[in-house]
Symmetry: C2
Subunit: 372 residues, 2 copies
Amino acid sequence: MSAAFAVEATQGKARAGILQTRRGLVRTPVFMPVGTQATVKAVSPDELRELGAQIILGNTYHLHVRPGEKLIRRLGGLHEFMAWDRPILTDSGGFQVFSLAKLRRVTPEGVHFQNHLDGTPTFIGPETSMEIQRDLGSDIVMLFDECPPHPCSHADAAKSLELTLAWAERCRAWWDAQPQEWRPLVFGIVQGSAYPDLRERSARALVEMGFDGYAVGGVSVGEPEHEMFAAIENSVPFLPEEKPRYAMGLGTPPQMLEMVARGVDMFDCVLPTRLARNGTAFTARGTLNLKNAPFAEDPSPIEEGCTCAACRDFSRAYIRHLVKAEEILGLRLVSLHNLHFYLNLMRQARERILDGTFEEFRRGFVAGYKAA
Amino acid sequence: MSAAFAVEATQGKARAGILQTRRGLVRTPVFMPVGTQATVKAVSPDELRELGAQIILGNTYHLHVRPGEKLIRRLGGLHEFMAWDRPILTDSGGFQVFSLAKLRRVTPEGVHFQNHLDGTPTFIGPETSMEIQRDLGSDIVMLFDECPPHPCSHADAAKSLELTLAWAERCRAWWDAQPQEWRPLVFGIVQGSAYPDLRERSARALVEMGFDGYAVGGVSVGEPEHEMFAAIENSVPFLPEEKPRYAMGLGTPPQMLEMVARGVDMFDCVLPTRLARNGTAFTARGTLNLKNAPFAEDPSPIEEGCTCAACRDFSRAYIRHLVKAEEILGLRLVSLHNLHFYLNLMRQARERILDGTFEEFRRGFVAGYKAA
């Protein structure tokens, strides 16, 4: 498979690049808002475009369970269904099958489970996952993988990795049998838990098969931060320079910058929208819980100098009132701000890599950011 | 008090008018979206402007209880607080005190009650209500009234009316003692339950005191539709032609047109946003419950030919999916459509009065609309 990724500039291991997808260019480093159920929670496609989102993520597992990829396909595909014309990356469903589904039974063929909504018996294997992602019309397809829990013994992680690699071969074969015109990009997922030898084996085997990009999976699954960094450090050296790298499901703003410094190009994370629903906003100095009493009469915006729609028009006091009163506009505004913050952080990282000042930017940001 | 209302055209009893408020003109007949807690539920001020909302309603009771009118005043008033620069009408809190509050005790001074949120003992009387509305910065202030339940004996309704009229005198006196520059408009509220003699007495007494406009209250409180129409018919003849008339808390789309035909100029109603939260959309042929199975693969918009943002970009199938999945974007889109429908219905009524075709419009609309 041929990649369509160009590295424009580097600083240390950090890269600024351009990824060509069939629905347009994605400039990296990039944050991808998560649209689990064919919508980024509380936010409209128009708002996402205004925020400058270049690409969003869709969830194979959720969309398969409801409303079903066949229905979406008959309605013109996921882009048409949700009125989003820019690229979409779909995860493979692997992570959700292992975190959400009930009565799971893993076989060499794939995974039998009962869905989390109504318990309907369902099966997803590597070929099914590729078919679902094809039917959705995904622009970047992820391989179907097994996600071992954390912690996990070396023996269990090794066994799981072999299954994941066998499934990778089958995904690869499935795509080789498809028409290659208008084919989406297909990304491999490096697994191997906390074990450097397994991460290396996983990365090398996937690169041997050859994919358009490589994700690091099995991170941000409850492990301490140093292990998360180690998982990336143990994977990236075995991935080709000329392909995009994606750290799945990360993370806090400083973690993302640390990952960029370690050579990662793409990120997705539910934190901006999930924390918004609790009234928690991201700022360069850390998170603010807008429910707190000191904000009750605070006329300033969530973050001074922020150009998002929430900070342009509304005070902390007003947003606090909305959140306390459980008004939808409250979580809409905090979601907009948080997505702006994440998207903008990656835009800044990109600019700083391009002008050669990324290291100062990263150090300054990480030093100024207080963990909640 | 001098009015600032001009009737531009009439057809039968229906009127097209212009109401001058201190924050700009309101063209009537007009629908006022309800912003109970300093936000029209699920909708942003930018969206309200795009929808062409000329004026919105705020709730004295709710804002007094949370976050408090003093806080809002210190932050620059309700307009500044919620970033809405067009006119705001505030109700007096009377209706909510009698429908939401607990352990209510009515005295000649006003009403003692425990608020519905945390049971804090609270008092609102006519002067308090005027102060709260002044502090909020309301452009159209409503008198504080007692709202008798439905049904209500003649004796009880008469007794309640006398209290309401005494309170009206006190509200009037309170405003007479205020600086008259930059004074909001003040509207009286006709009460009298289902009794023509009491409606007449109420209207005549209020007109004698003299207000900038007159509402009909105690309607849409559970009575049959013919009683609702009768309450209006028994009030309007005693109200001056040259003042605006407001039917409080109405109604379905056909009811609003019937009220326009009976000489009413202004409306507010929670139905567009309340029903949206259940996935119910308004159309010229009646309501649609988008949760229903036949919409699962329906690629058409909520209403063919509708120009709202929801109908422009999204299918019934997609919105149904969002509503079923309890995604906020679903109720956002249905709220936008429903508000557009109500606002547009009054815009059309106005145009039809201006061009002399209102009666055909009303008859055609009412005949085509199927009650749910």
